[in-house]
């Protein structure tokens, strides 16, 4: 194919003695899509930061368009034509689409901004990507998917030659993902090389030309995608064979634990369902279908207009999360960092936080009891940290999620609602979370799992409820559930 666009030669990066990248070499050609996979901590972010100039490599060479770049910097990499789209979007929500795209490079007539020219050129840019977004719309009024497209349009308007995309599809629905892939295809045709990072292996097979696997800061292998299968990919990523993906139920579920009848508020409408002890019920639907909203309504995080929740036949009065927790309902939120954890606080602090009462007497904390409790859950969850005093923000995504789980197990919940429990978590930790969820079900807890990852939802659930537009559209048993079946119910 075409010539080499970017070349990394023997890049090593050390942080105060710890090697984050070790002797990594990589080359990308024009118009090529190279996916970068690896568990959390494999060195993907460090590699990106070396390319964008945020990190100076300890040793090794960086070549771009046949020229050696000696001192890369964020400014220089931008000038070279390297763009990045991060998971967290970097748009200004109060400004319009056009203002965002031309931020810092506004078109002017003399001293005055040429708004019409900017809007026109913005419309063209977006049309080129095959979508329709009003250039005058405020970014805050757009969906996440549309915002990402604006980011891409912004990058394209910079005449990029090389685009890094860090898990762009994580917050997107399947339809939106297809759209995103079309856009990526268009960029590729224009000759833009793309370095694509994803935890979703299906995607990797869908869009890659080649795949590069990192593990523990080392380059394991780079292969054309045709030469590897999913198992092989996972094997390289974790360095070991993963057993069965999804643990199966071994015992019949018991009686009905949670019964939801006619829950209605401004986001969900007349939702009713039951969950039995030992059962793991999946909640499927596209983003915006009302799954999270239903969970939050049951949990008392959002107000409920009508409907009741029964626990073991007892009618519950839930006005706030505190009530739900007292009854034994827990919600593991999808937004771990903003809603699940106190990032600046220790593992112990987080673990005990929702069940202070059990380590307190008359409001006074029994520290010995607290430490013991934190220790027990840290061991039970196999949280990898050097001490229970380590702050949550220093943990990997998987370990953070385990801390959240520990917090909810400590409350002795009978019902646990998992909202996207494996988002942003590496393959190894995912398997552990699956095992844990199954084990909890086995112990007699009633479990609801919301997930946008179809294989996980189908693999884990004993039964799948499908939502659309705030309503439960139907139910699929373990035997009849398929991706197509879910999608048929989830779309109009």
């Amino acid at each position: 194919m075409a010539e080499k666009l970017l070349e990394l030669k023997n890049i090593t990066k050390k942080f105060s003695g710890v090697t984050a990248l070790s002797d990594v070499s990589l080359e990308i050609e024009q118009g090529e899509i190279l996916t970068l996979v690896g568990e959390n901590g494999a060195g993907k972010s460090t590699l990106i930061k070396v390319i964008t100039g945020a990190h100076e490599p300890t040793s090794g060479e960086f070549w771009f368009e046949g020229k050696r770049i000696e001192h890369n910097s964020p400014v220089l990499s931008k000038q070279l034509g390297i763009g990045v789209i991060y998971q967290e979007l970097n748009l200004m929500p109060q400004l319009t689409v056009a203002e965002n795209i031309f931020f810092g490079k506004e078109l002017k007539k003399g001293l005055i901004l040429d708004k019409q020219a900017m809007q026109k050129s913005c419309r063209e840019l977006i049309a080129e990507l095959g979508v329709e977004i009003d250039p005058q719309a405020k970014v805050s009024s757009l969906s996440i998917a549309e915002q990402q497209i604006v980011e891409i349009a912004k990058a394209v308007s910079d005449d990029i030659k090389f685009l890094i995309m860090d898990e762009p599809t994580a917050p997107l629905t399947n339809n939106e993902i297809d759209k995103m892939f079309e856009i990526i295809g268009k960029l590729q045709k224009k000759g833009v090389a793309i370095l694509y990072i994803s935890h979703r292996l299906e995607e990797v097979f869908q869009i890659s030309d080649r795949v590069c696997i990192l593990r523990d800061g080392k380059h394991i292998v780079t292969l054309p995608i045709q030469e590897i299968d999913k198992q092989g990919l996972i094997r390289h990523m974790v360095g070991r064979e993963l057993g069965q993906d999804y643990p199966e139920r071994t015992e019949e579920p018991g009686g009905i634990v949670l019964s939801v009848k006619g829950i209605t508020n401004n986001r969900v409408h007349d939702c009713s369902f039951d969950v039995r002890a030992g059962e793991l019920v999946g909640l499927a639907g596209l983003v915006g279908a009302g799954r999270t909203e239903l969970a939050r309504a049951i949990f008392g995080a959002d107000p409920v207009k009508e409907g009741t929740v029964f626990l073991n036949g007892q009618k519950l009065k839930i006005n706030c999360p505190q009530d739900a927790i007292r009854y034994g309902i827990g919600l593991i939120t999808e937004d771990r960092k903003n809603q699940g954890l106190l990032l600046n606080k220790s593992i112990a602090f987080n673990t005990v936080y929702a069940s202070m009462r059990s380590v307190c007497r008359m409001g006074v904390i029994n520290s010995a009891k607290e430490k013991k409790m934190a220790r027990e859950y840290m061991d039970a969850m196999d949280i990898k940290a050097w001490s229970q005093e380590q702050t949550a923000k220093t943990l990997s995504g998987g370990n953070q999620q385990k801390v959240v789980l520990a917090k909810w197990l400590a409350t002795n919940s009978k019902v646990l609602i998992f909202d996207e429990p494996t988002r942003g978590i590496d393959v190894g930790a995912k398997a552990e979370i699956y095992q844990l969820m199954r084990k909890l079900a086995q112990e007699g807890k009633a479990i609801i799992m919301i997930s946008s990852e179809m294989p996980e939802l189908i693999g884990m659930s004993d039964r799948v409820l499908v939502m659309r537009g705030g309503k439960i559209m139907g139910e699929l048993s373990k035997e009849e559930v398929t991706q197509e079946g879910i999608l048929t119910l989830a779309t109009d």
Binding site: F15, S16, G17, V18, A20, G41, F299, A301, C320, P321, Q322, A324, I325, R326, L331, T333, N338, Q339, G340, L341, L342, L343, N344, K345, F349, Y353, A354, M356, R357, C360, G363, V364, I365, K384, A385, W386, Q390, T391, K393, T394, L395, S396, K407, T411
Partner: protein, 324 residues
């Protein structure tokens, strides 16, 4: 895991450094003033420093809690004023001092709860809400007194601000008790844990079943009550109800709390370090007074110290963010 280990290690180190830094600053300052003036290093003067610190120290306990929740309370000086004058007027009606003090503490609590209402329910920025309350209270204080000092306090009331227990001034003992109470709440009680938690992440706290409303009302209410107590001590010390009492004190208190390492973005801070921050400010002001530096210059210095302390706090937050 090794990566996070070193990060944590670094963080401990910098935290240790900053804790050290304030101790060192205190010692350096004390040595400086001891050398530069004869009057500084005498036991009378050192107790003087403690006595001067005591009023602010009592109010700082409440302020520390408020700042840990990520808020701020600009109205503490005005609460001191209204409590001071209110207490004087109540005693003037013949009410026993003890009853007057209790009433005034309740008043402080109620004012604090009002602050909490505007901050939590109406979601006003704490700075603005308490600034408005400050203005209202100061106005009320002038109305209550007609702008004139209230004299004629009962003799027995003197002990609160001027008395001694053995060699130790009563205000200092009161401050010690308040700091101990604050320490106990923050370090040993579930409620204190919730204060840190709410300051660290309010939404996650709510979803963990924490009664955030109670925490917010509780913290602002306590801040009001501690400030009222500080006002009472101030009243007894100056022996008259001054309508200007406590004016501008909030700045000294905030400076001390931030110097003590309580992060203005919430969730972090230790009350013991705030005590050091208080002493630092106290020594600074006392030393400058002894060296005959005018109040005008002292104000400039105080402002500079506050700016430095807040900048340092902000910079260490930035560094911590970068490390992750």
């Amino acid at each position: 895991m090794r990566v996070s280990d070193t990060k944590k290690g670094k963080k401990i180190k910098t935290q240790g450094m900053s804790k050290f830094a304030i101790w060192i600053a205190l010692v350096v300052l004390m040595v400086f003033f001891s050398v530069a003036s004869d009057g500084f290093l005498t036991s009378t003067n050192l107790f003087n420093v403690l006595r001067q610190v005591a009023v602010n120290g009592i109010a700082a306990v409440g302020m520390t809690m408020v700042i840990i929740t990520g808020g701020i309370d600009i109205s503490v000086g005005a609460i001191m004023g209204v409590a001071s004058v209110g207490c004087a007027l109540l005693m003037g009606t013949g009410l026993p001092p003890a009853a007057a003090v209790v009433l005034v503490l309740l008043l402080g609590l109620v004012i604090g709860i009002c602050n909490g209402f505007f901050v939590y329910e109406i979601e006003l920025p704490p700075m603005i809400a308490t600034l408005a309350v400050q203005t209202i209270l100061r106005g009320a204080t002038y109305i209550m007194t007609g702008g004139l000092p209230v004299y004629g306090l009962p003799k027995s009331f003197n002990i609160v601000g001027q008395g001694y227990l053995g060699p130790i001034p009563v205000p200092v003992i009161l401050m010690a008790v308040c700091v101990a109470v604050g320490w106990f709440i923050l370090e040993k009680m579930a409620f204190g844990r919730y204060i840190y938690g709410v300051g660290s992440n309010m939404e996650a706290s709510r979803l963990s079943g924490i009664r955030v409303r109670q925490v917010m009302y509780g913290v602002y209410g306590m801040c009001g009550a501690f400030s009222a107590l500080a006002g009472v001590v101030l009243l007894s010390r100056v022996n008259s109800g001054q309508p200007k009492a406590g004016e501008g004190y909030e700045m000294d208190i905030i400076t001390a709390v931030v110097l003590g390492g309580v992060s203005t973005s919430g969730g972090e801070g230790k009350i013991v370090n705030v005590l050091i921050g208080l002493l630092l400010i106290g020594v600074l002001l006392n030393g400058m007074t002894i060296m005959n530096i005018s109040d005008y210059y002292q104000r400039v210095v105080k402002g500079v110290v506050l700016l430095m302390a807040i900048s340092y706090d902000k910079l260490s937050q930035k560094r911590a963010k970068k490390a992750v």
